[in-house]
Each structure stands twice: as C-alpha cells, then as structure tokens.
C-alpha cells in the first residue's frame, strides 16, 4: 500500500506505446490535414501562445455557447448527433472516427474500473479505503455516461454503438492489471488510463470539426483530468503536475 511511486512495477512506456498508436489514429483520421499538435509541450507553447495572442476575431463574434450555457453537468444530448461533419478520404467523417476512438477508450475505462471493483470485492486487493472505493464507483459511472454520450454521437451519425474496448490498449491494460495486487497498483493503472484519456481528448481538439463534438470532448477531458488529479493525490503526488495539459500521451 505504501509502495513509493517511483517503484511502479510497470512503466508508462507500455501504455504509452499503445497511446501513441491512438494518437496516430487521430492523425490518420484527419487524413493528413493535421500534423500532431504539440501545443501543450514546453517547446511548442511559445508558438501556440503566439497564435492565441490575438483571439479578437473569435472573441468578437461569439457563438451562443457562452451566452446560453447549458445546465452544469448535464449530459450534452445534442453533441455531435447528426453533426455537420467533415468527410475524409477514407470514408466516414473525422468527428465520427474520433467518437469511435473515444468510445473505445471509455469502454476500456469502464471495464478496468469494473475489474478493479470486482477484485476489491473479492478481497484480492487487500483493504480498500472508503475514499478509494468511492472513487472507483464514481469514476466508473462517469465513464459509462461518457461512453453513452459518444455512442449517441456515433449512432446519430448512422453508425453502430461501440461496445468493445480499444483494441490497441486492451491487451496491455489486461497484462498490467494481472500484475495488480493492491489498491496502490490499481490506482497507478487507473492514473495511466485517465491521463491517456485526457491527453487524447486534448489532442482531439486538433482534428474535431463539429462544435458540439468539440465541446463534448472538452467537457470529458476536464472530468478525466480531475480523476487524474485525485489519483495523483491518493498516490502521494501533487495533484496538478503540469502547467499545460499534455498531449504527448495521446500521440508520440
């Protein structure tokens, strides 16, 4: 339980290798219209800041997003459904491809939290602190709601709801989960997943075109980053490790 964070039995390389593939998938979804955006990396923030230094055009012509806010925390029911999507040359739309990618990640998250909950219930993870049990239950429920939202986008665009986990990351996550013997190990694995998810949503901003899909991805990125913050705290780390949210976990 008190294992130092530096003694992580598994390394981020395992999961990040898979995450890189995901990031590349996002790029592929953009069909060459987007190179990897590394705005959040230290080296590129300066460039990005330059681009953001003159947001007057966007600010001068606001959409209704800020003027007519939705109810806080409400499921964004119209997000991306029937979206005005940008077709790509490989069929389908970029936004729907991102939605499929996101849904696969959410299925993986729900499944991993469920596995952790089952293992804890079976006594395989030792004593489970009440706060950790509450975290797992809440995070699993929220990822399910996020999955439902993406599936609504997909089915709204005529696609089939995603029920299978991301095939790239699943084998690695399963392998790492098999090594988990306590709550600390489970929390470390959950942190990897949350950081990959948050980074992927952040990176998705560089390829999404539909305004509702952009907002949906942003609203989920926030919650997943907050999951990560609490996991950092639980693991004995400062909960806000970066000045800018990273995208390198989503694309190498």
């Amino acid at each position: 339980m008190n294992e130092p964070i530096d003694n992580v039995a598994f390394t981020r390389r395992h999961l990040l290798g898979g995450a890189s593939v995901i990031g590349l998938s996002l790029i592929a979804a953009a069909c060459g219209t987007s190179t990897k955006n590394t705005a959040a990396s230290t080296s590129s923030v300066a460039t990005a800041t330059t681009g953001a230094a003159t947001p007057t055009t966007a600010g001068a012509t606001p959409t209704t997003a800020g003027a007519t806010p939705t109810t806080a925390g409400a499921t964004p029911t119209t997000a991306g459904a029937g979206a005005t999507t940008t077709p790509d040359t490989t069929g389908g739309s970029v936004d729907v491809k991102v939605a499929n990618l996101a849904a696969g990640l959410e299925v993986l998250a729900v499944g991993t939290y469920k596995a952790a909950l089952d293992a804890a219930t079976a006594g395989k993870l030792g004593a489970v602190p009440p706060a950790v049990a509450e975290f797992v239950t809440t995070a699993m429920k929220q990822h399910q709601m996020q999955l439902d939202a993406w599936n609504k986008v997909i089915t709204g665009a005529g696609g089939t709801a995603v029920t299978a986990p991301n095939a790239t990351l699943k084998p690695t996550v399963d392998g790492e989960f098999a090594k988990v013997t306590d709550i600390t190990g489970a929390a470390k694995l959950a942190l990897q997943l949350e950081e990959i998810a948050a980074a992927t949503y952040n990176h998705a901003q560089s390829v999404l075109t539909d305004k509702d899909a952009i907002k949906l991805a942003g609203s989920i990125q926030i919650v997943d980053a907050q999951h990560a913050a609490i996991l950092h705290f639980v693991l004995g780390e400062y909960p806000v490790p970066d000045v800018f949210a990273k995208v390198d976990l989503a694309a190498a």
Partner: protein, 94 residues
C-alpha cells in the same frame, strides 16, 4: 474555487469558437490544468470541513482515514458544464 470554476468553464465554452486549431489546443491544454486546480480545491474544501489534518502530501499513510466523499467530491458530474462561463464580450477591449 469560484475563480478556477469560472476559468475552467470559460475555456470550455470558448473552445468551439476558435477556428485556429493551435489556439484551440492551447486553450484545451490550459483548461486541463485549471480543472485540476478546481478538483484539488473541491477536495481541500471538503477536507477543511471534515478532516483538515488530512490535507497533506503525501497522504498515502493515512489514506484509510479519508472520508468516502473524498473519492468523488472533486468531480461532481460526468461532464463539465458552462453555467459559470464568462462571455467573450466581458474581456473585450473598449
């Protein structure tokens, strides 16, 4: 905490106003940190009211003492809303 929530929700509300992708990703990357400040402050506020001695890093040795609510208070919803977002006009140069 209010400041962080307004910042987080303003960034979220403004994301889809950007046409420049670089600016949008930058805004998302800042939003991703503001929201963690918010999460941390929510947790701290809850602990201040119930167990202020547990506001510390590292917490691992005392993790079993954390109230159950500490596991969920930082993210009350599955989707962040924008009810507290400031409109772009608010920052316009006049």
């Amino acid at each position: 905490m209010t400041l962080e929530q307004v910042a987080t929700e303003t960034y979220l509300a403004d994301l889809n106003m950007f046409t420049d992708v670089t600016s949008r990703v930058l805004m998302a990357s800042v939003m991703g940190v503001e929201c963690q400040h918010l999460a941390t402050l929510r947790a701290v506020a809850a602990l201040l009211a119930s167990a202020p001695d547990l506001i510390k890093i590292p917490i691992i040795a005392d993790i079993a003492k954390l109230p159950a609510a500490a596991g969920s208070v930082a993210f009350p919803d599955a989707f962040e809303g924008v009810t507290m977002a400031s409109p772009p006009q608010e920052g316009a140069v006049k």
